[in-house]
């Protein structure tokens, strides 16, 4: 085919991009730009936005609620990423490298499926269930009383001391399944001969985990870590349902703060500034992710 015919040939394909691109511009790019512009204004949602320059960002620097939410985000990164990745690795390795050998493949798949179940539940349903379990007269305290540990009963989600840990627990409960499933799929591409050789050399389960599983799963660990870190920056539904950011902002997340200012206090410009910061942080992680994927693709993985 001649070069210009190839070019003409390709041009026809652009037509197929039209619906997707209209949508992208209307729903993602346009609103994103509008939000960025709004972050430099004072606006109550009605009338004309008033240009205030960087004032929203200056206020943000001294806003305890904003810094509190950022501080909490570090905790949410623990419960969205660090703890589930660690539990997921140990579980995946146990199910793949131990339970399958010692018990059966079916038992291993059964465990995998069961651990995955919370992951596909609507977060609000998870919130209703755990809200009921953790409230002062809820299931957790009732059980503590039943076994004679009534003294340990707490207002788990209503007391600022425990609320962040309680919300984190729910997030870990949801997240472990995702890590587990991705890691187990990654394990299935590892050559079983590696494990057999290690076993012949007398390596125990833990040594195989550290020497084979973790290094071989490096790409999966990276992908899971980055996607969940990005998700940690956007924690919203569990906070909305369980604590509404309280008590005393103990569980406040940036997403909830923006939601609160957009739709409750109607400080649209300020909320836009908070969400812009959130967007830039996300974008930073996303770019790292893209560069990594590109490298993987080049290496042909």
């Amino acid at each position: 085919m001649a070069v210009d015919s190839v070019a003409r040939h390709r041009r026809g394909y652009y037509l197929y991009l039209i619906p997707g691109f209209l949508g992208l511009i209307l729903i993602v790019i346009g609103p994103q730009i509008a939000n960025f512009v709004l972050s430099f204004t004072a606006w109550k949602g009605v009338g004309t936005p008033r240009w205030v320059g960087a004032q929203n960002y200056q206020r943000l620097l001294t806003d305890d609620q904003f810094w509190g939410s950022m501080h909490n985000t570090l905790f949410y990164m623990l419960s969205m990423t660090v703890i589930p990745v660690l539990i997921g690795l140990v579980l995946a390795s146990l199910l793949f490298d131990y339970v399958r050998d010692q018990f059966s493949e079916r038992l291993s798949s059964f465990f995998r499926a069961a651990f995955y179940l919370p992951q596909i539940l609507p977060l609000t349903v998870a919130g209703v269930l755990w809200g009921w379990i953790l409230n002062p007269v809820g299931v957790a305290n009732a059980i503590l009383k039943m076994v004679g540990l009534g003294a340990l009963a707490q207002n788990w989600i209503g007391d600022a001391t425990y609320a962040l840990a309680a919300v984190s627990l729910v997030i870990v409960w949801v997240q472990v399944g995702y890590c587990l499933v991705v890691f187990m799929a990654g394990l299935s591409r590892i050559d079983p001969a590696l494990y057999e050789a290690a076993q012949l050399d007398g390596a125990g389960w833990w040594q195989r985990l550290v020497a084979i599983t973790v290094p071989m799963l490096a790409p999966e660990i990276f992908v899971v870590a980055l996607t969940t870190l990005i998700a940690a920056l956007k924690v919203f539904a569990p906070v909305f349902v369980l604590t509404q950011g309280g008590p005393d902002d103990a569980t406040l997340a940036p997403s909830y703060l923006t939601y609160f200012h957009f739709f409750t206090t109607q400080r649209v410009g300020y909320a836009a500034a908070v969400s812009t910061v959130q967007m830039i942080l996300t974008l930073g992680l996303a770019v790292i992710f893209l560069v990594f994927q590109q490298r993987q693709a080049e290496r042909g993985v």
């Binding site: 993602v28 579980l91 069961a114 609507p122 977060l123 009732a142 039943m146 991705v182 974008l283």
Partner: protein, 294 residues
């Protein structure tokens, strides 16, 4: 019986396993740890089921772990009626199915141009799309909310459908493009030699071959949309339009004093998910992997 089948292992396999690892008492410790984690994972499901049909007096007397002396269906009926749950299920289904079809369609068109057509700038376009799926919804929600109000689409399911479909299709395009870029060239060339137009190649050649992948993608879109919270909670204010996820998000705290009603609410929220899970278990646990790593 179910337990017996789960535990029964194939004798041939067991022999091989023996050759691999000596069976030690450790295995029971490991199993105990796994079972403890399993109990923790399934506890909320179990406790909701146990209490949703429990008479209030039983709960007061025996607490959340007691076995009900008889079964009552009032809590389920009350939540079903108060929340207008049938309506919510209908709304969630309608929105999720529509989004699923629409988003698969947009993804397919995009991926056809990017993965098979290999139009110039594919890499850049894909990067933009992927970033589009990653930016926080909070940073686009207000302008979308304002636009919807301006054009009269606020509080309509159509607004949620359009926004969600576009957001999901960005991810779908990314996934399908990478699958389609490995589409066998010989088949495409054969279609071209036979005089097929681009549209015919798409509908008569590409779609039939890609159907399994499209079904997986559609399943994911369905469940993601079912679980979507921020967009519907902002866009759908009237009770009649709301989805299951929104109804659940707003029930919070309302029935604090009635534990069996909370159990009933939880159980009704769980039920659709468990049904999807039983139907699509294999698709879901495999598909998530394609989504994460590819």
């Amino acid at each position: 019986m179910a337990e017996a089948t789960v535990f029964a292992s194939n004798p041939a396999k067991a022999a091989v396993a023996h050759a691999h690892q000596a069976r030690s008492p450790m295995r029971w410790l490991v199993l105990a740890v796994l079972l403890a984690l399993l109990v923790f994972t399934l506890f909320p499901f179990f406790i909701a089921l146990l209490n949703a049909f429990k008479p209030g007096t039983d709960y007061v007397r025996g607490g959340p772990l007691s076995i009900p002396t008889y079964l009552q269906f009032d809590s389920i009926a009350k939540f079903w009626k108060d929340a207008d749950y049938a309506r919510k299920l209908f709304n969630s289904t309608l929105i999720s199915v529509t989004v699923s079809v629409l988003a698969v369609g947009i993804s397919l068109f995009n991926a056809y141009a990017l993965g098979i057509g290999r139009v110039r700038g594919s890499t850049v376009i894909l990067a933009i799309l992927l970033l589009g799926t990653m930016v926080p919804q909070e940073s686009i929600i207000y302008p979308i909310y304002w636009m919807a109000k301006t054009v009269g689409l606020y509080d309509t399911q159509l607004s949620v459908i359009i926004v969600t479909a576009v957001l999901h299709s960005a991810f779908g395009t990314y996934l399908l493009s990478s699958v389609m870029s490995t589409f066998p060239r010989e088949i495409l060339e054969a279609a071209e030699i036979d005089g097929a137009t681009r549209w015919q190649t798409l509908t008569k050649v590409v779609i039939p071959i890609m159907t399994p992948t499209l079904m997986v993608l559609g399943t994911f879109f369905f469940i993601w949309t079912w679980n979507e919270f921020l967009i519907p909670v902002v866009m759908l204010v009237s009770n009649n339009n709301q989805t299951v996820a929104v109804a659940m998000g707003l029930t919070r705290g309302q029935n604090m004093s009635d534990p069996t009603l909370q159990a009933a609410a939880g159980l009704l929220g769980i039920l659709p998910t468990v049904i999807f899970f039983l139907i699509f278990q294999r698709t879901l646990t495999r598909g998530v992997v394609a989504g994460a790593v590819k």
